[in-house]
């Protein structure tokens, strides 16, 4: 104690793994947090626990089959992947799809955004222990889920877009039903906005937490609500409009939702306001939907071309880079899910905050780990964390159970 050279660090630095299996994360991803007491001093992001080799599989599939494969990349934003692949193939084939198909496709995208953002809101409530609001918001998410089920035939995997248009039409009865549903939904979303902003226990948990300053957000190129929560104007719907977004943005009634707060609260507010904006967009789409056919014929063999299809998914900018080669199979198909770009900013957000804030910061970028096999073993005595593959883990656990038969 008296010697000047000795410095005693209290509390000691401990490495806490969050993930790959953790109640806060619904999918595998690992965040090694080094904490001093409750303060996070360092964070490391590890991903890739569930590589499904979709890009490799796609090279042996036809475009039509890839459409459904794309939809299964992610459960929550299935319509965006599905629709974006369809639009990429259409760009490559250089065909124009009918106006009504464009409107229905955009409508599905916006409905998808609504349900994804409400889902995120519920998760955010859950991550800070506000289970009531979690239950209630997911209850009201059912309104939009029912709409999607009604028009597409499936709750999650809508598969509405096909190459050359959409697969199902929207009848007038469905339209009336949806307009009625939007009124109820808007009332509820406004209520959740008020809860998120005015409930003190929740607001205290998100206010000033996980700061991502605009320069750092730019440097790590944050996309989607993460970027918009830091005041970056990144919204493909406005910057690079496609489909029915072109006439919709031209009306000038819709604005990009931005927040300059830069913390989790900013991201939350952006998301909630975006839901209200998306409801208005859906209303506009339904009211201005032109009549006509819903799909155009596209030959299965697509001419050689390379396209970069951009689309604003609920989580941010979604990229499909498709190279066709004249056959009915893609030469190369690269998917960049929006979460991939937000990983880098994650470590910046985590540093300097409390351990208790880690789940909400992780959830704030709305991670979608859709992108097999390893498990982290933490040795209690030493400070080692080792990675074990699933097969080895199975062998080890079988051995353990053989050595330690259950005491009756």
């Amino acid at each position: 104690m008296t010697s000047a050279g000795k410095r005693i660090v209290i509390p000691p630095r401990v490495t806490i793994p969050i993930g790959p299996q953790h109640p806060a994360l619904k999918e595998p991803g690992m965040f090694k947090l080094t904490v001093e007491g409750e303060h996070i001093v360092d964070a490391e992001v590890n991903i890739g626990y569930n590589h499904r080799s979709i890009e490799k599989i796609s090279e042996n599939n036809t475009h039509l089959q890839n459409l459904y494969l794309a939809s299964r990349i992610c459960g929550i934003c299935s319509a965006t992947h599905n629709g974006n692949y369809a639009q990429a193939v259409e760009f490559a084939a250089e065909v124009e799809i009918p106006e009504r198909a464009k409107f229905i496709r955009t409508l599905i995208w916006e409905l998808d955004r609504i349900h994804s953002h409400i889902l995120w809101l519920g998760v955010a409530f859950h991550e800070v222990g506000f289970d009531t609001a979690f239950m209630l918001s997911w209850r009201d998410r059912e309104i939009v889920m029912d709409m999607l089920e009604n028009i597409s035939g499936n709750r999650i995997h809508h598969d509405m877009s096909t190459i050359g248009g959409v697969r199902r039409n929207i009848s007038d009865a469905q339209k009336e039903q949806m307009l009625k549903g939007f009124d109820k939904l808007e009332e509820r979303v406004v209520f959740y906005r008020d809860v998120a902003i005015h409930e003190k226990t929740f607001w205290n948990r998100i206010d000033g937490v996980g700061m991502l300053e605009p320069p750092i957000a730019k440097k790590t190129s944050a996309v989607g609500p993460t970027g918009r929560g830091s005041g970056l104007k990144v919204d493909v719907r406005f910057n690079d409009p496609v489909q029915a977004y072109i006439p919709m943005i031209d009306t000038g009634d819709f604005e990009m939702v931005l927040s300059d707060r830069g913390d989790v609260a900013g991201r939350s507010v952006v998301r909630v306001l975006e839901v209200i904006e998306a409801i208005n967009m859906c209303r506009w789409l339904l009211n201005n939907m032109p009549d006509g056919p819903i799909r155009a014929r596209v030959r299965p063999r697509i001419q050689p071309n390379e396209v970069l299809a951009r689309h604003e998914a609920p989580r941010g900018e979604l990229i499909h880079y498709l190279i066709t080669n004249g056959t009915n199979k893609p030469d190369r198909w690269k998917v960049r899910a929006p979460t991939y770009n937000n990983w880098t900013s994650m470590a910046h957000c985590l540093r300097g905050d409390y351990l208790a804030d880690a789940p909400i910061i992780l959830a704030a970028i709305d991670p979608c780990y859709s992108c097999t096999d390893r498990v982290v073993i933490v040795d209690g005595n030493g400070e080692t964390i080792r990675l074990v593959s699933l097969d080895n883990l199975r062998i080890e656990s079988n051995k353990w159970h053989k050595e330690h038969p259950r005491r009756e």
């Binding site: 109640p23 859950h126 222990g129 009531t132 239950m135 226990t201 209690g380």
Partner: protein, 363 residues
């Protein structure tokens, strides 16, 4: 011969009281019932059903959970201190049961005035506070014995919770003790029932402080930082499984019985209900009749259950309406708000007792 028989009967009666009613078995029954009420209310407020399929409206679900956990595999981490690790659930269960023995559910000693618990002596309020602190310290040790990082973080948080909310909890209990001039649970309940209704005004703030601190003591939302599942995977409980977890859960439920019972006894008049009505019929004779016959056993128990379940509903509502606070926010809230409030309240009570009530003529 006669004395030996008497002693045996006395012993049997006491054993019955301790083990069956209103002792361990009854308290366990109450614990499971409270958990069911808690879950049902929690679910109802969230527009859900809650437990549904075991027994009438799922009333046996807590028992079912307990039995199921007993049959599960019991694991001990390799790095844990085996003996201490195994001892923790037992210690917790014993502590909570002993605490619950003090609750004045029925009158065990009709000779003395007031409704006595199974255990009752002068100064038992201090002893109870000591027991609840000991409980928190056991939790801290439980986390450290499990040698898990989540567990250790959870223990550290329990320690923080202990130093922040134990103080308002104690200070809130001073008011009833001050008004009655006693530290004995039964005397406090008895004396409070005799005070004039004007004293209710003095009891409101301590009641609120006590209920909030109780929520923190029981580690429920918004104070459940020490076993927040999304951050530290159930904190200090993370390594416990099987029988140990069953015992810990039961101990927590019994602490809920104890906490709700303390609120009932100290602020809501314990098992007394009709005695508050200022009619001669419900005065001393009624109490005496209740205390000496079997009618009192049923009547007092039902009143106690009724009042406690009201407290449980309030606690469940509190659990529903808030998000989880961060530990630094909790400590700040406790030291900036709750502790000063408790101290100010004490000053107010003193001023009221010394100056205001004599002027107003309240006896």
């Amino acid at each position: 011969m006669q004395t030996a028989l008497d002693a045996t009967i006395q012993l049997l009666a006491q054993a019955l009281a301790v083990f069956v009613f209103p002792g361990i078995l009854f308290i366990t029954f109450l614990a499971l019932l409270w958990q069911w009420i808690d879950r049902k209310v929690y679910a109802r407020l969230q527009n859900r059903f809650g437990p549904l399929h075991t027994g009438w409206r799922g009333i046996l679900q807590p028992l079912m959970d307990f039995v199921k956990l007993l049959g599960k595999e019991d694991l001990t981490p390799k790095a844990a201190d085996r003996r201490s690790f195994a001892a923790v659930p037992v210690v917790m269960l014993v502590l909570s049961l002993v605490s619950a023995m003090f609750l004045p559910i029925i009158d065990m000693d009709p000779g003395t005035s007031g409704v006595q618990g199974i255990l009752s002596f002068e100064g038992d309020l201090v002893f109870l506070l000591f027991m609840s602190t000991l409980m928190a310290i056991t939790i801290v040790l439980a986390g450290y014995f499990s040698s898990n990082r989540y567990g250790q973080t959870g223990s550290a948080r329990t320690g923080m919770l202990l130093i922040s909310f134990e103080i308002p909890l104690v200070l809130a209990l001073v008011t009833p003790a001050l008004l009655t001039g006693s530290l004995r649970l039964s005397i406090i309940t008895h004396e409070l029932s005799k005070l004039s209704p004007a004293y209710i005004w003095l009891m409101i703030i301590p009641f609120i402080i006590y209920v909030i601190s109780l929520q923190a003591e029981l580690e429920r939302i918004p104070f459940d930082v020490s076993h927040a599942e999304v951050e530290i995977v159930h904190g200090w409980q993370v390594e416990f499984s099987g029988k140990k977890l069953a015992m810990i859960n039961l101990a927590e439920d019994i602490m809920l019985v104890f906490g709700a019972g303390m609120v009932t006894a100290l602020f809501l008049g314990g098992p007394l209900l009709l005695e508050f009505i200022p009619i001669p019929l419900f005065s001393v004779e009624f109490a005496g009749f209740m205390a000496t016959t079997w009618v009192g056993w049923v009547y007092y128990t039902l009143v106690f259950i009724f009042k406690s379940s009201l407290v449980i509903i309030v606690l469940s509502n509190m659990r529903t309406a808030f998000a989880r606070w961060r530990i630094d926010q909790i400590v700040r809230a406790a030291w900036k708000f709750m502790v000063p409030l408790a101290i100010i309240n004490l000053v107010l009570v003193q001023i009221a007792l010394t100056y205001i009530f004599p002027i107003l003529g309240v006896v």
